[in-house]
């Protein structure tokens, strides 16, 4: 399970292109992207709005098909996987947190958290884990509330718990604080980082917010679909204040 860090990344992206062709229009959303993410790394993908961050994240999770290039996720080449196999893979390997929460409106908080476990046939005691996560995000007393009965911040905390329930090796988040005010955003971010640390997941955080990105081990900056910069935390001029030093596996 514990692959040596930096040798083969838990995510390998090779010469990735995403082109949308709607004749006569041709939009190159992502151009020749190559990078590798080692296990346990906290990677921030940064860039202006429209630079292709969400598209890249979607491709990494197999939510969309690539135009060309290769994506290997935890030793599985996902570029040619079929839809259902992708879904299975996501269920086992990836936790997701979206900008707009994306809870299933007809399920209660607890049921939402349990859903990925059910979908992927999670082996452990999902109920216990859901209770535990609910407690860690401070929503034990909201377990049986429906999403519309929760505030935005609370919904996003439920989404956080849902993302971690199956103990996925990779967590992907797209502007997780984008819809929240700063206090709530900070709270969610703190929880995210804390859970990430405790669960030892590889974290991909998409954001247009430099301040948020500063928490990461590494920042990948996109511009017009290309990688503009790829900087490690050590080399960055202003060191962000991390809540705790990052421990590499």
């Amino acid at each position: 399970m514990q692959a040596p860090a930096f040798q083969t990344g838990v995510i390998e992206v090779n010469q990735l292109w995403k082109v949308i062709e709607n004749p006569p229009n041709r939009v190159e959303i992502l151009r020749n992207i190559t990078f590798s993410v080692p296990r346990g790394q906290f990677l921030a993908i940064m860039g202006a709005s429209g630079s292709g961050k969400s598209t890249l994240l979607g491709l990494l999770a197999g939510l969309d098909t690539v135009t060309s290039g290769r994506i290997v996720l935890d030793k599985t080449d996902i570029t040619n996987l079929r839809e259902d196999n992708l879904a299975r893979l996501r269920g086992r390997k990836i936790g997701f947190v979206f900008q707009s929460y994306q809870l299933v409106p007809t399920l209660t908080a607890e049921e939402n958290i349990l859903l990925p476990a059910e979908l992927s046939g999670y082996q452990g005691d999902a109920r216990r884990r859901a209770k535990d996560l609910l407690e860690r995000v401070g929503l034990t007393n909201r377990a049986h509330h429906y999403p519309i009965q929760l505030s935005g911040g609370e919904q996003q905390r439920v989404a956080l718990a849902r993302a971690f329930v199956t103990q996925p090796p990779i967590l992907m988040t797209d502007e997780p604080t984008g819809n929240l005010d700063s206090a709530n955003g900070q709270h969610v971010l703190d929880l995210l980082l804390q859970l990430n640390r405790e669960e030892e997941t590889t974290l991909i955080l998409v954001t247009h917010d430099r301040q948020l990105a500063e928490y990461a081990d590494r920042i990948l900056t996109l511009h017009d679909g290309r990688i503009l910069r790829d900087e490690m935390a050590e080399r960055r001029v202003s060191e962000p204040e991390l809540p705790e030093p990052q421990v590499e596996a």
């Binding site: 082109v19 949308i20 062709e21 709607n22 004749p23 969400s54 598209t55 979607g58 999770a61 939510l63 969309d64 098909t65 135009t67 839809e83 259902d84 879904a87 299975r88 996501r90 269920g91 086992r92 990836i94 997701f96 979206f98 707009s100 994306q102 809870l103 299933v104 409106p105 007809t106 399920l107 049921e111 349990l114 859903l115 990925p116 059910e118 979908l119 992927s120 849902r162 199956t166 797209d174």
Partner: protein
């Protein structure tokens, strides 16, 4: 995903939009109700027939024949009777009857039985409650039905006259076990002993009478041996035994229920189309959730499970309600068809079709919901980023795979309903016609709907500012996303089409009967005439008779040989071969009206030489050539006739001439005549009286009565069909309501915005009314056009008549459907207009 989670989500989604789904359930229920009502009634009737099989024929086995029977055949039956048990003969015919209180004779059914043994099974209930053999002790007493007593103004103790003889009415028949086996003759019935029937002189050679030989069998005998022995004794005989129920009645019930259940199937199809539409729009709204579930690891099948469950529940709910309502439909059925099946026995409620009706409802629902369900596969999980990432390259790569589910779905729907139609009609041909017609109308309606949407968009775009604002908004509403104008049009249109088609056909049939029916020949018909010349003389001397009496004579013969070759050695079609013992020969003096000479020459008017003219069909069937000599035998006398002419019968020839010989050539043989005469309506009763006075065995029918009878029957059938076709309209209306309810939220917002912009309530209701009216009017228009087309096809194919396009029906259908659409639309948008704009907009 576990079943519980799937059902949890499915259930909570249903609960969140009860109004939307209630409509859907009702739409299915309507279809199931019609179908299970009709089928259930058919099943119940069938079951009743089987359970009471012995009572219904009053015997273990009956052999029925319609031709003349010889004394040898009767004694053969008696011999078989004593060999296998017991036998008794029942003879039934139609006759004129008169009473002292009513001078005009009435047509009645006459049934002769042996009062000592009849009936073997079941009981004949008579008032007074005395044994039948006491009441019919002599040959001059009868018992009659209450209907006869009422119409002829007689009661027990009075007398009626039959065949010129007086009979004492000895009692009233309250129930007759084998009434259904007697066919659907007049409800005025007379029951008498055989001696009584002989006294009337009604039955002679060539008379139209049915003979039923009833057998009561000893236990354990070989039914099949008896049956084949009977078959050998008659050239054409219809045998039924207690194992089969009443085959003739059963078949009549079957074909009626088959036809009606296909009509009901349309209601079901329209209803399940509604479910599919609702499911489709529901899935559109759940797109986000589906994408999220997929993003966090749900496979397409797991998501489909949720919506499959929903569909299933909706189908079941619709089925359960439908079966409940169907029970009511079934109960109202005897009332609806009481004129077709006079004296209908009490049919108990039968559960056997309940389950099938429900399954059909669920199956139909699932079939139609299949394409939207399969489209779940195509929901891209990348939707979680709140936009559609499907790009052209991805699409072209998955091109046929993406389209495949759609095609599979369409094929399954088509095949599924084809199978249902075949199953319901028990005929591949009928099923094909049904599905073909339905598919054609659906396609036509679909095309019109697409054109309408295109036209509305075009109108709004090009005329934009020149259109009055209410119209602009109303038009735009029609093509608003999620409005499902297309499906509403199709559903309503199909309903209108079927209702109107039955109406137009009903009118066509009646018009046909009136204009081209027997009316041309005269308005008073004569049957069973023996003495043609004296009756003609009598009638023509009556006041008010405005034409000569036209009589056609016929006799029934055995064909013996052709050019000396015995008929048994001729190569003939099965049908002609079966008829060799009873070949019908018509007589004619000169070339009759409505037939055209093809070859040879017709005989001179007074020709008494036996010779033969045949129709082109008969010439082909018997392989005849001019000059061929054909030998016949009539009532024991043989004669040979050379073929001198062949002819072609016009479609509308009043008599079905087939084999014709000179009238005088058959003189001395028993010839039966029938025909017609023109009489001024006011004088008809007097002429009827005179005929009855002098020729009591001649049956006289008045055109007005016949037309009334036909009209009653046609009206009755049409009422039932329209009743069921109405269910299809109802389903269409429900779909319209559900589509309006489905866009409720959008409408509320729109109303709020319009109100803040200063639109009055009446302006807004104008917009909605224009939308509903256009939908209704177009559906009515297309439905009416299709109905006219179908009526024309059916009339051309099956009724053999031309119908003109019925323009008024177009207007009525358009206005009627528009009104209906407004009603449905406004019911579904209740309270929308009353929303306060601020509340709505603040809730954003």
């Amino acid at each position: 995903m576990s079943f519980t989670t799937a059902s949890k989500i499915a259930w909570r989604e249903l609960r969140a939009a009860p109004a939307k789904f209630l409509f859907v359930v009702l739409a299915v229920a309507v279809g199931v109700a019609a179908l299970s009502g009709v089928k259930g009634f058919g099943y119940a009737f069938r079951g009743m027939l089987l359970r009471n099989a012995k009572q219904l024929i009053a015997a273990d086995l009956q052999a029925q024949t319609w031709g003349n029977i010889s004394p040898e055949q009767i004694s053969r039956m008696q011999q078989l009777g004593s060999q296998y048990g017991e036998m008794t003969r029942v003879t039934e015919t139609i006759s004129m009857a008169g009473s002292g209180k009513l001078r005009v004779p009435q047509m009645v059914s006459v049934k002769a039985i042996d009062p000592i043994v009849y009936p073997y099974y079941g009981t004949l209930k008579i008032n007074p409650d005395k044994p039948l053999c006491d009441l019919l002790r002599n040959d001059s007493s009868v018992v009659v039905t209450p209907e006869l007593e009422l119409r002829m103004k007689v009661s027990p103790g009075d007398t009626i006259r039959l065949g010129g003889k007086e009979f004492l009415v000895a009692g009233t028949i309250l129930s007759e076990p084998d009434r259904l086996a007697s066919g659907f003759g007049p409800g005025m019935r007379v029951l008498m002993s055989r001696a009584g029937l002989d006294r009337t002189g009604l039955i002679q050679f060539g008379s139209r009478a049915a003979q039923r030989f009833l057998f009561k069998l000893r236990p354990g005998i070989n039914l099949d041996a008896l049956k084949s022995a009977i078959k050998h004794s008659f050239h054409r005989v219809f045998i039924s035994d207690y194992r089969e129920g009443s085959p003739v009645v059963g078949r009549a019930v079957d074909s009626t229920t088959t036809f009606l259940s296909l009509v009901s199937l349309i209601a079901l199809i329209v209803g399940s189309l509604g479910v599919a539409m609702a499911m489709y729009s529901h899935l559109q709204q759940r797109m986000d959730t589906i994408a999220v579930m997929k993003a966090i690891g749900a496979r397409a099948n797991q998501v489909m499970q949720i919506y499959l469950l929903q569909t299933l529940w909706l189908g079941i709910a619709g089925g359960v309600i439908g079966v409940g309502v169907g029970a009511a439909v079934q109960r109202s059925f005897p009332w609806l068809i009481h004129r077709i099946f006079a004296l209908l026995p009490i049919v108990p409620w039968d559960w056997s079709f309940t389950l099938q009706g429900m399954s059909l409802g669920i199956l139909a629902t699932l079939l139609f919901t299949l394409p939207p369900l399969l489209s779940i596969r195509n929901v891209r999980p990348s939707l979680v980023f709140r936009r559609n990432m499907s790009d052209a390259s991805a699409e072209s790569r998955k091109h046929w795979q993406d389209k495949l589910p759609g095609w599979i779905g369409a094929a399954l729907i088509f095949g599924g309903f084809y199978c249902i139609a075949v199953w319901l009609s028990r005929s591949w041909l009928m099923g094909s016609y049904f599905i073909g017609g339905l598919a054609a109308s659906l396609i036509a309606l679909g095309i019109v709907a697409a054109m309408l949407l295109f036209f509305m968009r075009f109108l709004v775009r090009t005329w934009n500012r020149r259109l009055p604002p209410s119209f602009r908004h109303g038009f735009a509403n029609i093509y608003r996303p999620g409005n499902q104008a297309r499906s509403v049009l199709v559903a309503l249109g199909v309903g209108v089409m079927f209702t109107l088609t039955t109406y137009l056909l009903q009118r066509t049939v009646l018009r046909q009967v009136v204009s081209e029916g027997p009316g041309r020949e005269g308005n008073l018909f004569l049957l069973d005439v023996r003495d043609a010349s004296s009756i003609s003389r009598l009638i023509e001397s009556q006041p008010g008779v405005t034409s000569k009496v036209q009589l056609v004579g016929y006799t029934v013969s055995r064909m013996l040989s052709k050019n000396g070759v015995p008929v048994s050695q001729l190569r003939l079609s099965r049908e002609r071969r079966n008829d060799l013992q009873a070949v019908r020969i018509t007589t004619a003096k000169s070339l009759p009206d409505g037939i055209n000479l093809a070859n040879g020459a017709w005989w001179p008017p007074n020709c008494a030489q036996p010779q033969l003219a045949v129709s082109d069909e008969a010439q082909r069937d018997y392989h005849l050539h001019l000059g061929d000599r054909v030998e016949f035998q009539v009532a024991g006398r043989a004669f040979t006739a050379p073929l001198v002419a062949t002819f072609h019968r016009e479609q509308r020839a009043p008599v079905r001439y087939d084999l014709v010989v000179p009238q005088k050539a058959l003189e001395g043989l028993p010839i039966t005549y029938y025909g017609a005469v023109h009489v001024k309506p006011a004088d008809i009763p007097r002429v009827e009286e005179a005929v009855f006075e002098n020729f009591p065995t001649v049956t006289v029918m008045n055109l007005a009565d016949v037309l009334n009878r036909i009209q009653e029957a046609v009206d009755q059938v049409a009422l039932v069909v329209r009743f069921l076709a109405g269910f299809a309209i109802l389903a269409g209306v429900i779909i319209l309501s559900s589509s309006v309810a489905g866009t409720r939220y959008r409408r509320i917002r729109e109303v709020a915005i319009l109100k803040t912009l200063g639109a009055t309530k009446s302006r807004i209701s104008g917009i909605f009314s224009i939308e509903f009216s256009i939908l209704g009017a177009i559906a009515g228009l297309v439905g009416a056009i299709l109905a006219n087309v179908f009526t024309r096809i059916v009339a051309d194919r099956f009724i053999d008549t031309n119908v003109d396009f019925d323009w008024p029906s177009l207007v009525v259908a358009m206005v009627g459907t528009a009104l209906l659409a407004n009603l449905a639309g406004w019911l579904a948008s209740a309270h929308i207009l009353d929303q306060r704009p601020l509340e709505v907009l603040r809730a954003e």
